[in-house]
Amino acid sequence: MTVSVSILPEQQLAVLNAAYRQAVARKRLRLLFGAVIFAAALCLAAIGAEVNLRTLFAHYGNFISYFDRILTLDTGQRVWTDVGEWLWGWRKWLKMLGETLLISYVGTLIGATFAFCLNFFAAENTSPAPWLRFVVRRLLEFARTVPGIVFALIFVIAFGLGPMAGVLAIAIHSTGALGKLFSEIVENADMKPVEGVRSTGASWLSCMRFAILPQVTAGYASYALLRFEINVREASVMGFVGAGGIGQELVVAIRKFYYSDVSAILLTIIVTVFIIDISTGWLRGRLFGKEART
């Protein structure tokens, strides 16, 4: 069997080839242009950030040896040869970890409650008045954009040192982040039930309660769990500014060069984050089916 490949006449082919080459050349030129701009921006940034490759190469060994040192006990042995000595402070650390988890839990719950109260006003389809929507949206944006730890710094001064500042900082940041996500779920909700409820003469509140809420609760819970996961990470560094949790221990260990403690605390944080990730993932799968797991 022979396969015949039809080849275009020479003239036609030449025109097409020329057009093709031109198109490719134009694309390449644009790519080159973009690459040059990007490279220029990188150079500018390197100057701005005082990048000094010599420091990096001179101290690169430090980075490796830092990990070598944090994995070495005071006795000079590797940490895993004497786990009891390595994790000597586990009682204290576990307590601080518990505090970290509580901070993120309470913060997430308070934040989710506020986000729940505000999101109906921020959603396009349910907000009672445009000016209200504008105000609530700007408020949420503010709470979301200012980093949690900046709030923590200010709250530490207002509320005093301790986990309370951390909780409030996480609560405000979560309100901003969840409020936006929640209102997006509401915007995607089916409006027919609302019309049905409204046609019976129900108030705005009943419309929300009986028409919107049943559609969105699963999404809310899923996002709140996801936020909890993120907040555990965030709460682990709240201690850096004195707002409670395991971060306090960690920053002391790093600053005072208690090397093996650094690795031990890092290990407990990583393990906790793993456990929280896996269990919230499992919980979300359990509660809302596989499709909500992403």
């Binding site: 940034a45 430090n62 830092y66 505090e99 954009t145 965030e234 560094v237 790093i254 990583i270």
Partner: protein, 282 residues
């Protein structure tokens, strides 16, 4: 014409038993969960030293602070702040780029359709996971020990912590790519590297570019805070001004951060549209 129909509830009950007579466990599950959640909340509030008096005192203090913040005023240090803002943007751009460059090859190793053996893939994935489990601020502290205080430590901190995130995201993008093009390359006699270069990369590069831009955006936020531990940028100024209670300068710095983040959001949104089209951005 039929009027409003009268339903016999008893008949409905008999027809849909699982709606009307749910087992006690199903009916109790929701209230039980709520009670448990509230119980933990109350325990947490007590354990974390929440007291109404402290809360009210703190709020009034906060009210004072907010009053003192108005009007925002940089005093005479505007040039310093602008330079610090530039530093922050530089940190975000450089850190993200470095992370992307290093994460691309590693993400290939972590992708199921490139490296089929799960024994090889598993340690790489766990490695990336544990990098991601450590917060950027912690990496910043570690790098400060290595290269000293300053923005360079911030660049490296962002690079390392994003390396973990990118490794995971990129490998997911690669796993989502269409295998047919790779098979096509293989069928025409291409080597494994050819498969990656001509079969995979053209599919995943736009996705990756979108993610990198998005991270530059979110890293502008992270870069503002790593200064708090001494890794350069506008966070350093912010933390200093908060510590010395210069509230007008604090509010000015916060405003600067908000404006910068909004500007970066806008630019990178436009760029993402240009690179991957309107459809994929949502």
């Amino acid at each position: 014409m039929t009027g409003p129909q009268e339903f016999d509830t008893r008949e409905l009950r008999a027809r849909y038993p699982d709606v009307f007579d749910r087992p006690a466990s199903a009916r109790l599950a929701m209230p039980a969960m709520i009670v448990a959640a509230l119980a933990i909340l109350v325990y947490g509030l007590i354990d974390l030293d929440f007291s109404p008096s402290r809360f009210v005192a703190g709020l009034s203090q906060l009210g004072w602070i907010s009053l003192m913040m108005i009007p925002p005023d940089p005093g005479s240090s505007l040039p310093i702040y602008l330079k610090a803002l530039g530093e922050t943007l530089s940190i975000a751009l450089l850190g993200t780029t470095l992370a992307a460059v290093f994460a691309l090859p590693v993400s290939l190793l972590a992708a199921r359709n490139v490296v089929p053996s799960s024994i090889l893939r598993f340690p790489i994935r766990r490695f990336l996971d544990s990098i991601r489990g450590v917060d950027t601020l912690i990496w910043a502290l570690v790098w400060i020990n290595v290269v000293g205080l300053g923005p360079f430590a911030g660049v490296l901190a962002i690079a390392v912590s994003d390396f973990g995130a990118f490794g995971k995201l990129f490998s997911e993008a690669i796993e989502g790519a269409d295998q047919k093009q790779v098979e096509g390359i293989r069928a025409s006699g291409g080597s494994a590297l050819h498969e990656i270069r001509f079969g995979l990369l053209p599919q995943v590069l736009p996705v990756i570019a979108g993610q990198v831009l998005y991270f530059i955006e979110s890293n502008t936020r992270s870069a503002t805070i790593i200064g708090i531990v001494g890794a350069g940028g506008i966070g350093l100024q912010l933390a200093e001004q908060i510590r010395v209670l210069e509230w007008q300068k604090v509010s000015f710095l916060i405003l600067m951060i908000l404006v910068a983040v909004a500007a970066i959001d806008f630019v990178s949104g436009k760029l993402r549209f240009a690179i991957i089209g309107r459809r994929a951005v949502a």
